[in-house]
Symmetry: C2
Subunit: 186 residues, 2 copies
Amino acid sequence: MLYQQIHLTLPTWTHDVVDLAAVHESDEAKVSLAIALSRHNVDADTGGPFGAVVFGPDHRVIAVGVNRVMPHTCSLAHAENMAYMLAQQRLQTPRLNERIAPITLATSSQPCCQCYGATVWAGINRLLIGARAEDVMELTEFDEGPLPADWVGELNRRGIAVVRDICRDDARAVLKHYGDMGGDRY
Amino acid sequence: MLYQQIHLTLPTWTHDVVDLAAVHESDEAKVSLAIALSRHNVDADTGGPFGAVVFGPDHRVIAVGVNRVMPHTCSLAHAENMAYMLAQQRLQTPRLNERIAPITLATSSQPCCQCYGATVWAGINRLLIGARAEDVMELTEFDEGPLPADWVGELNRRGIAVVRDICRDDARAVLKHYGDMGGDRY
């Protein structure tokens, strides 16, 4: 049979953790929610140690994502990709900031090569990052993959500002917990 | 409401175009099917001018993909990504060649930055490409995005062989048709 349907989901606990009415004004508040999602995902055993959140101009959540690679046997189901797809479904556009702007993506760890490419097309204005790629590789042995040498500059030239090292220690703590408990690597 | 469900589909006509029993032995036969899918997708107005196919070691189709960005308002729904996700669901693994090998991805045009990153994780051994990135940009004005300077070498070092310019003229013809008729760019 030719497969024609892809169905990806977030864990049900995300309903309890995310408050759509809450205002996350600062960069730290935005990344903290992404890190909280990454921690819940590990504790609930619903995927890898990564979380991401798409915020609108009012600093409220449009959509969230967590890593769902193993539950859905899907290498595309990284946290950032899940958040982008769900935000695009909610706003009914494949380029988020053509509907409302600015759009911000907060992620617990630097996007890998796949989510980096997705970030180029998703339609965001700001990218807020917790842990660095080297933290991910040091603490979990996840490979982050090949990026353009000037990956920040390539985003900047496409209108995407990048801010790194936001709540980096908190993000590192979740990665370390995952690594110490011997979580799946893939 | 927090969105939690992503549902992506292929057009129903793919059932009529794809024969799961057929053997596509040569590289040309594999890429020709990807190009045929890209042409059907334009003619049926079911997405952009891109097609991709995942083949198993027996040269039979595991899964196919076509561009579904506009129908699903989803910037992730590129042909290669659709094919990877559907193949991974069918084989029930997020890394295809850990189940059976070698796995081949044939694509009508060079993967953009997003599908390039996805290709690093999907678990393929061979990447067969029709049109070049410069063909896509010349004929359709689609942007292909930033890649590592040595993008072929980065794949080679991860065990993925790359063959380019397969049926390139046929692939270019579909792109030119789409460009001439003023198809969506996004």
